[in-house]
């Protein structure tokens, strides 16, 4: 049975600029998205910034009314039955905002426990249980203002689980966390999935989606460009290899030159201080290397390696360019 259903969802934001001569323009954030997520499934939503991931999460959590389309969560219409639906879902929006910094972690949880109408007799034990789950019991009486980003994010998770929601929306929950904090959070997400919670996870990290999600949809410019299990998505680039070239001082013209080669499917660039890594997807594998090096003739090239395509490469292939 489906826990979440989106039917042809569209959302348009109207942005106005200017004081005297007001100009408005429409931004299509979500453009005809349809999705079905089964009960107990951990579903990943991937896409670059501005792809529409957060807009979809806000529509599902009743914070946005879509311009068109129909959304149901656990059989509740997210627009018409918003009040009833709010007891059934929990969400974490990325970043460390959304907490009362002058209150302690425990008082933050107490406030939200009241808002969700948790039985007074159970509030204290439920808060303790959640603090234990996210590993914040020792710091629960300190003001949130002194918490690290990871602690704030764990407190968010505790807050969202207080009323034991059946469906969870986690919007980039590991964003900005250090590797240990992110790993701990992923362990919590795995544990929640083992409790048969339906989870919609948005993330920028492909390995995270690969490790956690049963199915993934890739979103670009408000539309779903691919959907399937991580293996099915990797299959889309199974005939591809990725040539990684370490270079110094690459500019747009170099990338354009590579993109102009008929055996190159896509090129992405990642900068590390002075050094850059160019990732070129091609069906030729090692045979493409001489041609690629020739195209970068004026550039200092360091290490060159060839490997099989991963989910991240599938993502780059589908979305077109890296961010």
């Amino acid at each position: 049975m489906n826990a979440i259903e989106l039917e042809n969802i569209r959302h348009v934001f109207r942005v106005t600029t200017g004081t005297i001569r007001r100009r408005s323009k429409e931004i299509v954030a979500v453009d005809g998205v349809s999705l079905q997520i089964e009960e107990g499934e951990l579903f990943g939503l991937l896409g670059p910034n501005g792809a529409g991931k957060t807009t979809i999460v806000k529509i599902l959590t009743t914070l946005l009314i879509p311009t068109a389309g129909r959304v149901t969560v656990l059989g509740f219409d997210a627009v018409k039955d918003a009040a009833a639906l709010r007891f059934q879902v929990g969400f974490v929006l990325g970043g460390d905002r959304g907490l009362y910094y002058r209150l302690s972690g425990r008082d933050n949880l107490r406030y939200f426990a009241e808002l969700y109408g948790i039985d007074t007799k159970k509030v204290r034990s439920r808060i303790e249980e959640m603090l234990e789950l996210v590993g914040l019991r020792d710091r629960a009486d300190e003001r949130v203002a002194g918490y690290s980003r990871g602690m704030k994010q764990r407190l968010h998770i505790a807050r969202t689980l207080l009323h034991d929601p059946k469906v969870l929306f986690l919007d980039e929950p590991t964003m900005g966390l250090d590797p240990v904090g992110a790993r701990d959070l992923r362990e919590i997400i795995k544990r929640l999935q083992s409790e048969q919670k339906t989870i919609l996870l948005t993330t920028h990290y492909m390995f995270e989606a690969d490790a956690l999600c049963q199915r993934i949809a890739i979103l670009n410019e408000g539309r779903i460009v691919a959907q399937g299990t991580p293996e099915e998505l990797k299959e889309l680039v199974s005939d591809q290899s990725v040539v990684e070239l370490e270079v110094f001082g690459a500019e747009t013209e170099h990338l354009d030159r590579l993109r102009g080669l008929d055996y190159v499917d896509s090129v992405s660039i990642e900068s590390h201080d002075l050094r850059q890594v160019l990732r070129v997807q091609t069906k030729l594998g090692e045979r493409a290397v001489p041609g690629l090096l020739a195209s970068l003739e004026n550039l200092d090239v360091g290490k060159v390696s060839v490997r099989e395509a991963t989910l991240e490469d599938a993502y780059v292939h589908l979305v077109g360019e890296s961010e």
Binding site: K58, T62, L63, I65, R97, R102, L103, Y111, E114, G117
Partner: protein, 260 residues
């Protein structure tokens, strides 16, 4: 009902912590009425029929109103800036109940305005500031606080849609001081101003507080003033309820709940 009462009380407690840490709000509640009281006393003390109690109560009311005016809209803006507005709206608790609790905390802060102006009158200028009808004054004060609470509830939903609304509302301060007769009687205003004054709950709050302090109102007059005060406040509260519903729906359409 108990659920709403608990949300109301806890929201008030949370807001109390927030608002007492705001330098701006402390300025509005403590320093502004201090300067208004001094200014009004210097301007009016040589006038015939000068009543220090009238000015002290009026200056206190101006501080009360200013605090409510700013904290009313600021309560929503602050929640949005902290990223909490979406969490509150997405919870099953009605935002109007949450904001109602927060407004009570704002009123508690605003009450310090009254204390400040009393200290200015009785302490700095050594005026006798005895209240003529203490029982009427006490009831008038409770009703005045209720009316200002309803005004705060009216201002709060405006900032759900328009984020710079605080600056716009700032311009309402002095017109309300004038229309409501906080510092001088509205009888001094042109006749066509009077219907506007009569429609504003703070006018009736000022009338009953100043009347009971000076002992210039008969019992039946003060009761009538209370009834009108309750009626105009009731209209404000109903209008606030409608604005919350309409603006929350519009905010959910336009996506203004989460912007900073």
């Amino acid at each position: 009902m108990i659920y709403y009462a608990r949300i109301f009380i806890l929201s008030a407690k949370v807001q109390m912590l927030e608002v007492t840490a705001s330098i701006f709000m402390l300025f509005i509640a403590l320093l502004q009425p201090f300067f208004i009281a001094i200014l009004a006393i210097y301007m009016l003390r040589d006038q015939a029929g000068f009543e220090p109690v009238y000015v002290i109560v009026g200056a206190g009311l101006s501080g009360l109103f200013s605090t409510i005016l700013f904290t009313g809209s600021n309560s929503v803006t602050r929640e949005r800036a902290q990223g909490n507005l979406e969490l509150l709206e997405a919870s099953p608790a009605p935002l109007m109940v949450i904001m109602g609790g927060k407004m009570v905390a704002n009123l508690a802060l605003a009450l310090t305005s009254m204390v400040v102006t009393y200290v200015v009158g009785a302490g700095m200028f050594q005026y006798p500031v005895a209240v003529e009808q203490p029982a009427f004054f006490a009831v008038s004060m409770i009703l005045a606080l209720f009316s200002l609470w309803t005004m705060g509830m009216l201002f709060a939903p405006l900032s759900i849609l328009w984020q710079p609304v605080e600056q716009v509302l700032g311009g309402l301060e002095y017109p309300v001081f004038i229309f409501c007769g906080f510092l001088f009687p509205i009888a001094l205003l042109p006749g066509w101003f009077l219907p506007i004054s009569y429609a504003l709950p703070p006018y009736w709050a000022a009338r009953s507080l100043q009347g009971s302090s000076l002992g210039t109102l008969e019992s039946d007059e003060i009761v009538l003033t209370w009834l009108i005060l309750l009626a105009t406040s009731g209209v404000s509260l109903v209008a606030a309820g409608m604005l919350f519903r309409i603006f929350l729906r519009l905010g959910r359409r336009k996506g203004t709940l989460g912007f900073i």
